[in-house]
Symmetry: C2
Subunit: 182 residues, 2 copies
């Protein structure tokens, strides 16, 4: 699923600018299971306009720079339907942190600890954010996807809290202590 189709998919949620689409993949509904960069978004939006799968209007805003707002066309909607008939790629998790843990013998002890603590903090923050969302009015299907994110982050936080001692040879309470600092 390339950047064009991801943008089409994002626009099914409503008209949006390139920046807003990026935000949807950073902090919005797609954040916990897909990413896409500005370097892909803007060229994709340009191509989608050329192909008349989306249309664009410029908007002036108070207190903010002007923006270009994109809308799905009917052709765009159809193109998205077509793209969604294909077999999706396999899921991929990419974690440099886990690579580092694997290569632990090459890391200095305090750096390892730092990496661990920051990773735990990273996931705790993500979890807090998605748990603070209001589910009212969310369809069952959308809830499945959102709860997937919750599950994912909870699992990782729980795993790290309970098993971090394997990395440091500490007792399990060491991880809980890190939690108390928060």
């Amino acid at each position: 699923m390339d950047a064009k189709n991801l943008c089409l998919g994002a626009l099914t949620c409503g008209d949006a600018s390139g920046y807003e689409i990026k935000k949807m993949f950073e902090e919005g509904p797609f954040a916990h299971f897909h990413q896409v960069s500005f370097g892909s978004i803007y060229p994709a939006l340009a191509k989608l306009c050329d192909e008349e799968l989306i249309s664009m209007r410029e908007e002036t805003q108070d207190g903010r720079p002007d923006k270009k707002v994109y809308s799905l066309t009917d052709n765009g909607r159809q193109a998205l339907r077509k793209a969604l008939k294909k077999k999706p790629a396999d899921d991929k998790l990419r974690s440099e942190v886990m690579v580092m843990f694997f290569l632990e013998e090459f890391l200095e002890a305090d750096h390892l600890r730092e990496v661990f603590d920051q990773q735990l903090e990273f996931y705790r923050r993500l979890l807090a954010k998605v748990e603070g969302l209001d589910d009212s009015g969310v369809s069952h299907q959308r809830l499945f996807v959102r709860d997937f994110g919750r599950m994912f982050y909870r699992s990782i936080v729980g795993y790290m809290e309970e098993n971090g001692h394997l990395l440091f040879g500490d007792k399990p309470q060491a991880m809980e202590k890190a939690g108390t600092d928060q």
Copy 2:
């Protein structure tokens, strides 16, 4: 962490060919938390040789094509140490399947079911594979990383089995039935 450092990291496990390195990222110790393509591996190995961070010898095999086996040099070991001092990138999960679930209204019902079943099968297979591994002789640290993979796959399988009904409006037993077919 670029392909060069990933190759250096893989070679800490012992001498290996480009193909074997790929296998380590596909089915071996790195499989559940990182990927790297042939298109990256071979140019990276060539550069690492130029930079004398690895050395290469050719080997003849019985019943198989010849292979080029790469080894870490001391310089390579040091370069890896240095690379591992940097702050790792944030973890990224990329799942076209979840994007599809999010865009469920644009999918035909039987295709949605197909995607769901194949996703569940995909993760069940991965889980079976990592659960079948023998942990004896594995260090605590390596076990942390391997158990992370187990946790990850278990969580997803469990989540899908218990919550798939949100996608289909089916009762939870529908997912268990899918499990029985296996």
